[in-house]
């Protein structure tokens, strides 16, 4: 059963550029009645497993922009440490509400995600130029190699700090915040944003796992089967990406996530 949760979380996570924590935390708290702090600890471990599994495929396929990822990790790691420390201060009820709001936001941003690949070239960004962040990737759907330029690198860095705080606080990869930050703010193509998000999530989650581990909030009994399932799911998911109708998948995802968000909110307020 736990293994199954891992497979579903890993598969969907890799497909959508997310860590899979949005499935693990609600499943453990709502289905198994596990304490939310323990659920978050287990989720962080599975997020690292999912992200690393998906990252192998995305890095090999030249989809992830490693320089952008390394640069933004400065902010996500700092944010994740802040968030994990904040989580030890906040009461569980607040965590439920924050989690529900984050999920609702995810559902909306994924549902509204449009084809943004054919935008006009962004305004030049001296920071991105200096750091050589621009890149290119093979786009299977368009049948050619697409070159792109990165914009607003400092703004992206600020948004990533926020995404990092949420990761540490909630035990999610917060890919739902990372992907829009790269896609909308930094003008990275959607597929590159998704792949780079998966690449970065492992490092963000590792930072918060460090804090949770030192506090003894990592349950080995829960973490192991979910992590194993997560890797299996991610391996399948990251290979399926090119073959599935993205639009339908996103809508299903948005509906499921929204339903879970409502449940968590009721639990937090009730």
């Amino acid at each position: 059963m736990l293994l199954g949760i891992g497979v579903v979380a890993g598969g969907l996570g890799a497909l959508l550029g997310l860590g899979g924590g949005f499935i693990v935390v609600p499943a453990l708290t709502l289905l198994f009645g596990v304490n939310i702090r323990i659920a978050i600890g287990a989720s962080l471990v599975s997020v690292i497993a999912t992200s690393s599994g998906a990252a192998v495929a995305f890095v090999r396929g030249h989809m992830a922009n490693l320089r952008v990822g390394n640069f933004l990790e400065l902010a996500t790691v700092t944010g994740a440490i802040s968030g994990a420390l904040l989580a030890s201060v906040l009461v569980p009820r607040v965590l439920y509400v924050v989690f529900a709001l984050a999920l609702a936001q995810s559902a909306v941003s994924v549902a509204r995600r449009k084809r943004l690949e054919d935008r006009p070239p962004p305004a030049p960004d001296p920071v991105a130029d200096r750091l050589h962040l621009h890149g290119a990737y093979p786009d299977a759907a368009r049948g050619r190699v697409v070159e792109y330029r990165v914009a607003r690198a400092p703004g992206g860095l600020a948004l990533m700090y926020g995404a990092g705080v949420l990761s540490g606080l909630l035990g999610i990869g917060s890919g739902t915040l990372k992907v829009p930050a790269m896609d909308l703010a930094m003008s990275l193509p959607m597929k590159v944003s998704t792949a780079t998000s998966n690449f970065m999530i492992g490092v963000t989650a590792a930072a918060s796992t460090g804090v949770y581990f030192a506090r003894g909030d990592i349950s080995s009994l829960l973490a192991a089967p979910i992590a194993i399932g997560g890797v299996a799911g991610a391996m399948v998911g990251s290979r399926l990406v090119g073959h599935l109708p993205a639009r339908g998948l996103r809508i299903v995802f948005a509906v499921v996530v929204f339903a879970v968000a409502v449940q968590m909110l009721v639990k937090g307020l009730g």
């Binding site: 490693l66 460090g210 030192a214």
Partner: protein, 145 residues
């Protein structure tokens, strides 16, 4: 940035040499880390299950998890690297699982360390500094709990 494709395949993309080396190094680190941690996690889970297989213990375990205990059922609670090592010496399942978790967490961290080395070889000072700072923050996170 991209070099002209040498094959007729329009999807053939050859990244710049420095990026290709970075991608190759990162892929190797992630694969080794994943394979090792997954193997250890599977073994640890099996050992744990074999040691705590009675239904009474399982019931206590679920109850304790609900009340917020990370390591219920009277099993050892390894929290530090030293405690994990002691548990391993006694062949305790939870300690083996936590070793697997540690290996898993170390996977992205080593990926950052290896990136720093690759950037250093390319004399890309800015990215060496970025990678080293990220690495230091990750190490610090274990001391902050």
């Amino acid at each position: 940035m991209s070099t002209a494709p040498e094959t007729s395949d329009p999807l053939h993309y050859e990244p710049p040499a420095a990026m290709a080396r970075l991608e190759a190094a990162v892929t190797v680190v992630l694969r080794i880390g994943l394979a090792l941690s997954m193997a250890v996690l599977v073994v640890g889970t099996l050992v744990t299950l074999a040691a705590a297989s009675t239904s009474a213990q399982a019931g206590r375990t679920v109850g304790a998890l609900r009340h917020g205990a990370a390591h219920p059922g009277g099993l050892a609670i390894p929290r530090s690297v030293g405690a994990v090592a002691r548990g391993l010496a006694h062949g305790q399942g939870p300690a083996i699982v936590l070793l697997g978790v540690l290996l898993l967490v170390l996977t992205p961290i080593s990926r950052v360390a290896v990136s720093a080395v690759v950037y250093a070889r390319e004399h890309d000072t800015t990215f060496v500094v970025i990678s080293v700072v990220v690495f230091a923050l990750l190490v610090a996170s274990f001391a902050l709990g």
